[in-house]
């Protein structure tokens, strides 16, 4: 396949960015989207065209949450339930023009080209996304039975990879789905119940503090989440939050 790529280039956080156009030829439909960018970069370097395009990636199997590109106006591109690294070129057609941008959200400032700073997510987790237990001195793992249903729902929420697609696709740059995934995981488990109220309050107030917007229930986050995490978890978060506020 031959493709035209319009890619956002920005030298650093403060520089002014703009789109540049490149072409790649003979791309195999079996190659992944990031492999296509590898080929472009090798060409940019070896043919002395430009410095390579920077993008974040690591595991390339859809689990580390490091990759994240805004492709043709959609977080992680046109395929459903996958990260950018799992997107394959067979989802595009020969001759296509593809527009590639970074996540655009105030709390995720651009570092370079397509790379953004997502440490705001770490800050939210640091504010309360854990059960406060130290290493050692804990009961046997089978001491507390947990119903399979609850454990499964907790796992559905815990599947979040922290990529930030929810924020990038939300018009308010809200991190509600990200926060909800963590809160809901714990809300379905007996562990850490004693600190549930503090947890939800602290995480939500940190989310506001680091600049994420409000949730207005548009549902774009769920639609673009590569792990298909349901917005029902946001409902759970809201219930937890109001319960914490009342008493």
């Amino acid at each position: 396949m031959d493709l035209t790529l319009k890619i956002w280039r920005q030298a650093n956080a403060t520089a002014k960015g703009k789109f540049e156009t490149y072409t790649v030829k003979n791309i195999s439909p079996d190659s992944s989207f990031l492999e296509m960018l590898d080929i472009l970069n090798q060409q940019l370097i070896e043919d002395n065209i430009a410095t390579p395009v920077c993008f974040d990636h690591d595991c390339r199997e859809g689990i580390c949450g490091m990759c994240g590109l805004y492709i043709n106006g959609r977080a992680h591109g046109p395929d459903k339930g996958v990260t950018t690294c799992q997107l394959h070129m067979r989802k595009f057609k020969d001759g296509d023009t593809i527009v590639i941008e970074p996540w655009r959200a105030k709390p995720f400032p651009i570092i370079k080209d397509l790379v953004v700073d997502r440490t705001a997510f770490d800050k939210i987790i640091a504010a309360g996304g854990y059960v406060s237990v130290n290493t050692g001195g804990i009961p046997d793992a089978n001491a507390i039975p947990i119903s399979k249903k609850d454990a499964d729902t907790a796992m559905d929420a815990a599947a979040c990879i922290g990529c930030g697609a929810c924020v990038a696709s939300c018009k308010n740059a809200s991190a509600m789905l990200f926060v909800a995934a963590k809160v809901s995981q714990f809300a379905h488990l007996p562990q850490g119940k004693v600190e549930a109220k503090e947890r939800v309050k602290n995480m939500v107030s940190k989310m506001d503090e680091v600049g994420f917007g409000n949730c207005t229930n548009t549902g774009a986050c769920e639609a673009e989440c590569p792990k298909e995490i349901s917005i029902l978890h946001i409902a759970k978060l809201n219930r937890e939050f109001f319960a914490a506020k009342i008493c």
Partner: protein
Amino acid sequence: MAKLNSKIPEGPLSRKWSNYKAEQRLVNPANKRKIDVIVVGTGLAGASASASLAEMGFNVKTFCYQDSPRRAHSIAAQGGINAAKNYQNDGDSVYRLFYDTIKGGDYRAREANVYRLAEVSGLIIDQCVAQGVPFAREYGGLLDNRSFGGAQVSRTFYARGQTGQQLLLGAYSALMRQVNKGTVKLFSRHEMLNLVVVDGKARGIIARDMVTGKIERHFGHAVVIATGGYGNAFFLSTNAMGSNGSAAWQVYKKGAFFSNPAYVQIHPTCIPVHGDFQSKLTLMSESLRNDGRIWVPKKKEDAEAIRAGKLKPTQIAEEDRDYYLERRYPAFGNLVPRDVASRAAKERCDAGYGVGSGLAVYLDFADAINRLGRKVVEERYGNLFQMYEKIVDDNPYETPMMIYPAIHYTMGGIWVDYELMTTIPGLYAIGEANFSDHGANRLGASALMQGLADGYFVLPYTIQNYLADDILTPRMTTNEKEFVDAEEEVTSRIDRMMQINGKLSVDHFHKKFGLQLWDLVGMARTKESLEKALVSFKEMRKAFWTDIKIPGSKDEFNPELEKAARVADFIEIGELMARDALMREESCGGHFREEHQTEEGEAQRNDEKYMFVSAWEYKGESQEPELHKEELIYENIKVAQRNYKK
């Protein structure tokens, strides 16, 4: 050999660890506050160690190259984590887990370490459950288990196909809790580039801020390396793109011995290579071998027809299929250890029975779907099937998966003693970065166990035995000569690299080198291939330092520069791998020398001459490294030829 003291405690095997803990020195809480510990790496090993040390009161500085500690490659582990809980009442015990691990490692691991690993394995599951890790459960609400290769019991705990993710998120949240308390200072997007040694002791690191390019000096009373394995030397592997061996290599060059570099694990169930643009290989979890059956056609002409696209696997009659693992290893069948399964696949493909491109075998779920129903299979493996379909564009519910072995894990690594300390005092290595516990072959679901054992339950104890002497050592300023010199080494290497200005990209080089490493030091090695490798890698190293081109500058976010530094190290690591493999005139576990096999094609050990851990000492750029040997003594296990047939 006098140099290697493994510090194995006295006493019977089952008392060694408790004796050690009873006698070791501790650091009191007021003194812990005065001590800084550097942890490099935030995988299971690094994150759990950082969190535990900080909870105890030490000041911790934690580094990782990703934008967040949560993205360390431990996240990608799918299948599960072993523990000798015996929840299934199927005869499991600490001893059996210990025994399976030693046997699985082909009798090339240290007894005392492995026993301790089995001993603390149960605590890990307790710890993770307390953190809220959503392990799979049965309808009665208790924890569920599955089986993994090399074991006849079900002792593997799992969280769908995302066990590593859930365990890492547990450790990551414990770490972030400490970050919030100010006891851990986190340096993400920071890459360690050198170790600082003062008066023979590890006292700090040099790191590069990957966003600004700034080179920084960091002091620590002790330094812990938890940077994972070096499997990416092969370019194509199941590791993350950034996984590297550089930190291990830097400390090797500063005097830490490097052990068993030749022991690499080749995982039998990965998606086959499909093109030369490919950047990585994807693992299909070993748990699939619980229900999937591995086969190739019995007749060569069928295999040929399949390769030519004239026949479909579903058209091959039952009696024309060769379930070669079940045929060769009736007792363990599809659940033989990884090294055995990988070699058997290679043997069939080399003999002309491979499918797909010729380098693939089938992993078939038709029987399981008939027996259990599609729904159960979907529940067990749904996400893996989906992943396969996304990559290959084939539906594994309808047609068998194709798999082939790929580089997956490195058993070799930095030599450590019982306390997990390297040959440099104050320098520790944990997780995949060290060599301990797995011998010549790691069993499935044991790396997660080892990483968390090291980080939660071993290092936090043993490091105190060392730091107890350091309570009066004040924090150093980083203006000392040793810090300045270590920084200078880093900057001059970077400058040299940036100035080459050749023609080839780093990836170009890495691919070429990786392919050679696979051909010459891969699944089957010979004296000839290894000698060839030694010559060729030297040339490659030279070519790298003249032909490579790194665009941009060193003072900015520059992934090409990061990659270049790692690849330069990989080429040198490859050389040591070849040297180690050449020295070891036997086959054991993941190390297969074609000259040393039984008539049936099984690995043939030579216990008389090679029952030792190799530990290589760096002797400078122009000299060959020196081999030290740690003899392995088996007091509790009867050493035998591994047998998975009966």
